[in-house]
Symmetry: C6
Subunit: 277 residues, 6 copies
């Protein structure tokens, strides 16, 4: 089953929304954009969750805010309000998330940042940065993939720049960056040496499906080397971006630490020279 | 089960066509040629699909056009009219498809181009180039196989020549080119070094069936090297063909970008010096 | 279950033939010899098939010819009369089959050629060369096995000698030659270096059963090397035989191309200096 | 299922405690801290076990001590009072446990020691050292992970320092230290050379889930080397800590040997210069 | 289930023999010795088979000869009287079997030859040499194992000495010799280099059970090398024995070729200087 | 399920013994010591077996001797009185068993010898040496493990010293010595190079459970090398012990050959200078 694209998501949301009362200002196109990657079943869940939220809030109509929060609930679970991060952990998480956002923002072709939050979720996430594309993406260039890897490494890069030490907080980013880099080398023909030869086959065709090697151990080793080289270069780039923008990094992380959630607009305002708060 | 050959397909189509009314001009031989690779079940589907299409179109007889469109539906799914590629993506896809077609056309022994389209299909294809052989092919020479690999690489080669950058759009071509090149080296005895020794055995005997290695890791590495060498050479050839025919590439891609679908006749007309449109 | 030997096959054929009327001249010994490798069930099928063929031909007795044709049906399927090979493909297939036959005939210890045909069969075979041993073979010497490998390579060697190019038509020969060569090296103790040590074990004891390696990767590599060396030498020998007998190759291939089927007698007549036709 | 965090454990304990009568002084926050890593089902068990213990002790209310002992029962099984360690074994175990505790205490970022015991348990443990964090830990720095490895090696290091010989008593510690060190190298991106590339994937996401390698044998070897280097350095550090604090080691081990169980307070008192007993 | 030993076999045979009438001269001890390696079920079969044979022969009592022939039937199947080996094949088989027998006889510690036959059996055996131990063997020395390997290689060695060529007839011997040699190296600690370290583990504990490697590929390669060296040396010894006794080899093979079966007494008579026949 | 320890075994034996009448002198502590490694079910069997033995012997009470013999029956099966070892085999087995016992006795930390026997058992054992610890062992030092390996190699070492040749009789010892040595290197952190890093993980936690490798092939090779080195050194030590005590070896083996079973007291008496018998 292919996942629905942007228009498909909008259509599915509207179908399910017929069963509930929505506020006049609800913009399903925006909601569909934010719900990138959601399946049909998850889109139905988002509508239900939003309806429940409205009920809990004593409202008779579902608002845009209900829908947006319910996207986060479906993707990352409910807010885990009573999780108690130590102050130092909270500070590290704030820098980590700003690291992702700032590296993304400082590169071309990155999807705009929609929201950054350090309120833990029941999925186990200690925070996340939501980027939202303006439309569907069917093709990705090598440069866009490299930037995506750099963005994944941005969280740890921020820890390095700000604290000079690293934590287990980047585990998931490491997995994602590795998956993408391996695909570039072993499936998308994006290395000089392998040219247009696939060294892996994939069971599940979506980005990051399960890959199985079809090459010799010596070629596997070459893949390992190329993957490390690729990720290392993007990690270094991310670190440079953050070092070059240390002021913004500190300002944004401080703001996020305090507010716990910031919107894309707030993020851009500070980034584009908004004065010190 | 062996797939039906050309005569077989024509016979099967005619059997199923007895249940429907077809226009007088329907040429089942041509339909059978276009449906190369289809199984008996798929051929039955093609007739059903064409009948439904006629009904939807308010026609009482099934036309040649109904049959041709239904072949595409069975192979690649319905047109996905509301898929919104960005303008730049659409331009890349147009060059990509013309790349395949132009490399095929500029080599001897290639099957003629029947149709090129960049209307996305529900199968996930963002476009495709349909080549149709004039008869069944029982044997393929090394040169024909190499040309086929060059044709597979033609899509990315066009991206390189036109845009100087590469995308994930060639993933499937990479898989196909690799499969064919591995078969040449490891099963068809088409390398100097391995002579007439098979280094893989195949479960499913059709071209590109699942192969399992029966050789040592060191020999696997040699296979990897030879496959890369083989594909690299054809990729370079494809790039040269497109660079040498840059004018035609631009003209054809521009035409396809605008029209979204072009026929084999239109393709050949432009290719053989038809004046600028 | 061991397959029946020559006497066994003759006996089985006679048992089943009791249920049908056979012409006086039917020689079950010859039929049994031609049906080498057939199982008990296949021998029963051969009798049934021959009976049906006689009925279709309006005959009340089954003739030797009915039996011989039905052997081919059981082994390779029915003639696929409507398969349309291109003229060039037909020519390549003719040379390919004569290549096998001529290499076999020019070596000592080869079973005599009984029939060569290029009428495609429903099994997918584009043609074949039937060699029939005069008796059962219980032991094979190294030389006989090497000659058998040379015969397998004879098809492609003929393509090389006559057309200077190679095709996928030799895929099956490559698999068979490899299987035999691996068995010589890894199971029959026919290499200097491994002496009487088995490097593979076999599940199914018949010639070419499924083998699984029981040695180290480095030893596997040595096996690969020895197999290539062995096959390469026989392939070169086959090519030499055909080059040295180019006149006969051309004459026989031309004759087969025209007639589509030739008997062992016709083959030998041309081979032993029958004048130009 | 994610395990409950500190607040979650406290809440779950209180829910189950409603069914029993507890002494006024019971501090569920402390109990929850001690029960780190327990699942919901284990927390329910802890309450039941404590109730049974009170009954066996002829008490009508469950005390803090009942709850603390029942945590140990659920985690490590009942005390195995009749296990007869030889005197020398008992001495070795005492040094081993003090080794863990002393190395932990002498490093920064280590959770405080709560209790050390050398009374064997039915789980097979010959003794253990209970460390209790003051709050939940969501992130671990490289330094904290290294210290944890050093603490694991502290048991054997004490055997080396005190007896100049080593025993099988460290088997479990070796497994834990290896697991953590491999995760640092192959999943947490904590080696210079692999940067932010994952060389393993993990089925079960909790610390120390089952990992499967996705890299070449040569890269595996590099992982092995780095893991050994990492553990060796921490082991050496542990040995140095114990050598530098030989007096305390002897004093504490002697005390534990005699008393069989010592509390965190007793441990700290001796450690921080309490006079000789 | 352990197989019965000599006394056990004798007892089992006697139990089953109670149900039939046996000639007075039947020596169950001898029969039990000849049936070495037979299971309880096979011993029951031997008695039944002998009874049927007596009935077919019109005898009312079962003779020693009935029992001896029925052992062969149970082990190797019925005589396949109508198998037609070519004269050359029969000659090769005669030399092959005498090769085994002569190498065995010329070495110390070999079990005496009981019978040699070249009448094919339905098991597929083209002939065999029956050696019968005088008692059970519980231990085998390195020398005895080496001699056993030499005996296995004796068949092919005879082909080499007499005909200067080798055949597939030694396939089974190669498998047996390899199995024994691998066990000596990898399980019986009979190589200098591996000392008393097992490099394989065995599922089924009887001689030649299924072994699985538990060592590194590099060690596997060492095993391969040592196995080849070991077998090569014994093969050379076998060839030397036969070359040194060429007269006896020719005489015995000629006698066996003519008679098709010879007894241990006939074998020894010729071997120990019986005059030319 | 953990196996019962010494006290546990004694308790279990006493529970089951309540159902039978035992002689006054029965010492369950000694019986429990001899039954080291027995499960609860096996302990029940030992009591039943002893009761049956008393009945067969016409006794109304179960004696210590009944219990001791029944331990052997449960562990190694019934005596196989009619097994006929050749005189030479019997002599080899006698030296082999004394080899184990003498090497054990000449090293410190070895459990005392309780009984040595060369009466074959239905388990297939041709003899065995029973060593009985005075108490449970919870920890083993490197030295104790090395001594245990030396004891395993003592059987073959005795064959070498006494006969200058080796037999298959040490197969089982080789497997046990290898298992222990691999555990020392790969799981107990007892090699300099791997320090406290585990290179294997174990499914079943008891000594010698099934281990699976988690390291690279190169590291496996290092493990192989270290294991060989370790076993070789202990084997050499065993050989030295036996060579240095050749008189005692001959005397004890001669005595065992004659008596077939000797007690620990007899063994010690001869060992500690009892005069020649």
């Amino acid at each position: 089953m292919e996942l629905p694209d942007l228009r498909g998501r909008e259509a599915i949301l509207k179908v399910h929304a017929k069963k509930i009362k929505t506020a006049d200002d609800v913009d399903f196109h925006t909601v569909a954009r934010m719900a990138a990657g959601a399946s049909g079943a998850e889109l139905a869940n988002i509508i239900n969750e939003a309806a429940l939220r409205a009920v809990r809030g004593g409202r008779t109509v579902v608002t845009e805010a209900d829908l947006e929060e319910s996207i986060e609930v479906v993707i990352a679970g409910y807010q885990k309000k009573n999780a108690v991060l130590s102050d130092q952990e909270k500070r590290v998480v704030a820098y980590h998330e700003i690291g992702h956002a700032l590296v993304a923002a400082m590169q071309s072709h990155s999807a705009p940042v929609q929201k950054i939050t350090i309120i833990p979720r029941t999925s186990g996430a200690r925070g996340y940065t939501m980027q939202v594309e303006t439309g569907d993406k069917y093709l990705m260039t090598r440069e866009e993939l490299e930037n995506k890897i750099a963005t994944y490494t941005g969280g740890r890069a921020a820890e390095e720049v700000a604290f000079g030490q690293i934590t287990t907080g980047a585990s998931n980013d490491i997995g994602q960056a590795t998956k993408l880099a391996r695909a570039m080398i072993a499936r998308y023909g994006m290395s000089e040496d392998f040219d247009m030869v696939a060294m892996e086959t994939v069971q599940n065709q979506y980005l990051g499906g399960d890959a199985s090697l079809t090459c010799s151990p010596a070629t596997q080793q070459e893949i390992d080397r190329k993957v490390v080289e690729l990720v290392k270069a993007q990690h270094a780039k991310a670190r440079k971006i953050l070092t070059d923008n240390r002021d913004k990094l500190d300002e944004l992380a401080g703001f996020l630490y305090e507010k716990e959630t910031i919107t894309g607009e707030e993020f851009m305002e500070i980034l584009t020279g908004g004065e010190q708060r």
